[in-house]
Amino acid sequence: MDYSDLRRQAAYMKKSLFDQGYLDEQFYQLEDLQDDVSPNFVEEVVTLFFKDSSRLLSNIEQALEKNSPDFQKLDSLTHQFKGSTSSIGALKVKHECTLLREYCNKENLDGCFRTFQKVKREHAILRQKLEAYFQLLRQIGPAEGASRPVI
């Protein structure tokens, strides 16, 4: 198994995620927390994020589908969701959340619906990309994967 090749792939994958604006510097903060005590910390936290945020997304969806939607509640849920995205540096998702909140404040239901679809899409795309990234890291192995691949 050519680890240097895999490491290069992983580094490239990570660089793309940053270059294409999927992640921001906050993700580095997360990586910095990984250590010998918690060698899979990044993946654990990212998994936790997707678990929590999926729940929030379905709550938002339910709130949107009500006959007369409660925009304050929608805004509150979106705000929570956005907070989570900030923690791991999910930049594109966060950006769509900001837009969603703007539509909530304007009580523009159509705008909310459209933007919510974008939030869901970006959320799903990020999940796919990060899953692929972690899968690659796992192939490289714990000793290699535990440290940040050099870009």
């Binding site: 903060q29 936290v45 936790l48 929590d52 907070g83 923690s87």
Partner: protein
């Protein structure tokens, strides 16, 4: 007293007992990890109301409270204000809003220290200063109660050294508080004394 000659070990402020409250479990997990890496002891809670009860009942078990003010169930500003009034621990507030400080001032609330959330490690490293600052402030109001008296000139000197070495944060005017040269007799909370004694003995 033997303690009068003792200095705080280089380990301080390791073992500082931090109580963290954040409704976002992702942020909470990261805060916990950051604080553990600082060498602090961490208790976490994602429910502010439960946290308040826990703190009220076990105040001796913690040195400082860190709380994210963005709460869903209740008004965050009000909650933090109530908590600071009832609980004598130093409180550091985390907020995603950069203008939180202005809002707080505008509402004439207790001046708290505010860090941004998400947090960076070096900001969390500095929270021990709030604990020292609070106790040094208590020094000024000398209280001749029946609780333990202690000679804290050693603490003063060591705190000065620590501040000189780690003084990155200009917001904290610790230097003003450390102008006391003379020995003072003050009373401390039982918990802090226990902690300090443990540190001094080691």
């Amino acid at each position: 007293m033997a303690e009068s000659e003792a200095m705080l070990p280089d380990g301080f402020p390791a073992g500082l007992r931090v109580f963290v409250v954040d409704e976002d479990s992702v942020a909470l997990r990261m805060l916990e990890k950051m604080l553990l890496q600082c060498g602090y002891k961490v208790t976490i809670s994602d429910c502010p109301l439960q946290a308040f009860e826990l703190l009220r009942a076990n105040i001796g078990n913690y040195d400082i409270v860190l709380i994210d003010v963005n709460l869903t169930c209740i008004d965050g500003f009000q909650f933090v204000e109530n908590m600071s009034r009832e609980i004598s621990l130093p409180v550091v507030v985390l907020s995603a809003y950069s203008d939180f400080q202005n809002v707080m001032k505008g509402k004439n609330m207790v001046q708290l220290t505010i860090l941004s959330n998400p947090c960076v490690l070096k900001n969390l490293k500095l929270i021990w200063k709030h604990v020292v600052k609070k106790y040094l402030n208590e020094m000024k109001s000398i209280n001749e109660s029946s609780s333990m008296d202690v000679n804290i000139s050693c603490l003063t000197k060591k705190s000065k050294d620590l501040v000189r070495k780690r003084d990155e944060d200009d917001d904290i005017a610790l230097k003003d508080n450390l102008s006391l040269q003379k020995r003072a007799r003050v009373s401390w909370t039982q918990s802090f004394m226990q902690n300090l004694s443990m540190l001094l003995i080691n």
